[in-house]
Symmetry: C2
Subunit: 372 residues, 2 copies
């Protein structure tokens, strides 16, 4: 049984490593040489949109999935309807869900439709639109590109009226969205999974700490029963409405005990990496079980986990492993500023120990990153 | 960093899957097509003794290790001293340790030298030797080939004097060993690891259940502090004496609270598969850390584990996964009677729950196997 995956980054790599014990095979499509997933599985080194490569991928696979949400929706649609060898290929998650997550406006519309509280927002296609939006929603606010944003890229924070022109000059070349800047108390994310047989499961809530727009630390479970219930209800609603298959993630701001949806990702998520050692079944394995129509694995936590991202440079390996209970995940990438190169996971018996040790470890392993 | 591995079976496969998160690469040597490890890593499909293939493997690797102890010692020795591209290659565990474990007589001599209690034994090279051995040690007893025995292969149980001729006829073509048959209470194994820097660690004791000479079930930790201490002392002694590098396993009979060494394996071991989910660091990861001179990972148990071998035929996958907390490991092998095709691991919060559920699961997943 071969799973075809568009994108061969670290998410695909960890998916393959979770799928091999189930006896699965993998084939990746990615134009990059030396990709994280290509080091552990075969890879077609072609453009994501190359119709022939996509057909080859589809023809070799029982089901297609993604490691990266910014794949070409038209290319996937053509494949799903399709002509040629890979025609009528099953794609998980559904292309409509991928499309919704690619565009911040359709994402916001979806949240609104599903009664999932989100930030106030307006689509912006001109300087005048932006002026009106800033007036209606207020300042400060954030101008974001509708597409291709990740790790804080394609965003401009407007603090006062003078920033309107500056923001427009910086981002105005593409369709945009303006939204209120929520003075949140903290950030969480919820990861849910729905199988092709309609079975669903939800992971314990992740508490996330960002810096410069990039996730630095996740602790889980964030043991707030009311928030967990609420997040579970929202993700269930989204999974059902989208007739979703696979893992879906929603990131929230928390303010005064309320959840405000920030964005969603139609895939396994950085804030769920702790599930490899810290949950009964990892998000990667459950994504595969879901898209293959297999029974889902249990999602409960085994202890209290912290996941620290290794960004830009890798700490010395022997220094990480000198902590005998740490789990290192090296994605096999060339170091580059701001690049996610790996992560470490810590599992402790209590939330307090987890909090304390994650602080000490951050100070040692990722010096210079503010410690929450 | 590439690890070269001679043998591409399930042990190598699980080693690669444990090593990828550390950022390691692998290259296997095995004549078999479609091997378990060859499905997840590159493989040189050549004979184990092919000098050119061995040199190629060594030249491409920082360190060589084995997935199978019956490798050719002369070939490895030639490589370690060597000429050609892969010359002077570091081999872990040391070739002397591999050689000792390949021959039941040198294994017994080692146990005797290290004061590790073992069965009474005699080397047998003729029918007369066998008659003398049976007389000196008594009947019943077991005649075993000195080399290439595994999973109960190459053994003949002598119950009475009439069996002497029969046993000789069956096995007499090769060098043999006769040993007493120990009426043991139960069987355990201990897994230890020693790094190239001399650091050692020992896993909790495994309690093993065999049937027809093949391991069927392991439960761990076998929480008997006295036995654990004793086993720890024995394995430490062996690790030190052999100046060992990597994972070493010793299997024991337990009788009246005493440990009697049965045999040793210079490698990761089937009875340690539960460590993937059930220990802080798996035996596979610790073997790699050890041979690379990295700090060893913690070996303590996370809960109470049971590992059930899947032999001959695989149960239906969806049936296994319908137990939401089970971990399936499918080795990607063609089914064949008596062949180890995979295993499942269960981790429970108490020893009693683990014992009960492992019984129920065996009845369901491996019907026909006697349930301990």
């Amino acid at each position: 049984m071969t799973i075809g995956i568009v994108g061969a980054g670290q998410l695909g790599r960890m998916m393959a490593l979770a799928g091999y014990p189930l006896g699965l095979d993998f084939l990746f499509l990615d134009p990059a040489a030396g990709s994280p997933a290509g080091q552990v599985a075969p890879q077609l080194q072609q453009a994501f949109t190359d119709p022939q490569a996509l057909q080859q991928l589809a023809a070799a696979s029982q089901v297609l999935t993604i490691d990266w949400e910014n794949v070409s929706v038209p290319a996937l649609k053509a494949l799903a309807k399709g002509k040629g060898k890979g025609r009528g290929t099953r794609i998980c998650p559904p292309v409509t869900a991928i499309a919704a997550a690619q565009d911040r406006v359709s994402e916001k519309k979806l949240f609104d439709k599903l009664d999932i509280p989100t930030t106030r927002w307006r689509a912006v296609d001109s300087l005048k639109d932006l002026q009106r939006a800033a007036h209606a929603i207020g300042l400060p606010g954030v101008l974001k590109t509708r597409r291709m944003g990740y790790d804080g890229k394609g965003q401009f924070v407007l603090r006062g009226p003078d920033d309107i022109q500056r923001a427009w000059d910086a981002l105005g070349a593409v369709p945009l969205l303006y939204e209120e800047m929520v003075p949140f108390d903290f950030e969480v994310s919820v990861i849910g999974v729905r199988s092709t047989r309609g079975e669903t499961a939800v992971y314990p809530l992740n508490r996330n700490f960002h810096h410069d727009g990039i996730l630095r630390l996740t602790r889980a479970p964030h043991g707030a029963p009311t928030l967990q219930r609420l997040a579970g209800r929202y993700i269930d609603r989204a999974l059902g409405a989208l007739r979703y298959t696979g893992v879906l993630t929603i990131e929230f701001f928390v303010r005064h005990g309320r959840l405000i949806a920030n964005e969603m990702a139609p895939r396994v998520h950085n804030s769920g990496h702790w599930t490899i050692e810290g949950a009964q079944t990892s998000q990667f394995e459950n994504h595969l079980r879901a898209i293959l129509g297999l029974p889902l694995g249990a999602t409960h936590a085994r202890g209290h986990s912290a996941m620290i991202n290794l960004i830009g440079t890798m700490p010395e390996q022997s220094r990480v492993l000198a902590h005998p209970d740490l789990h290192l995940h090296d994605y096999g990438k060339e170091p580059r500023p701001g690049r996610k190169l790996g992560h470490v996971t810590l599992v402790e018996s209590t939330a307090l120990r987890c909090e304390r040790r994650s602080r000490t470890l951050m100070a040692e392993l990722v010096p210079g990153t503010p410690i929450p």
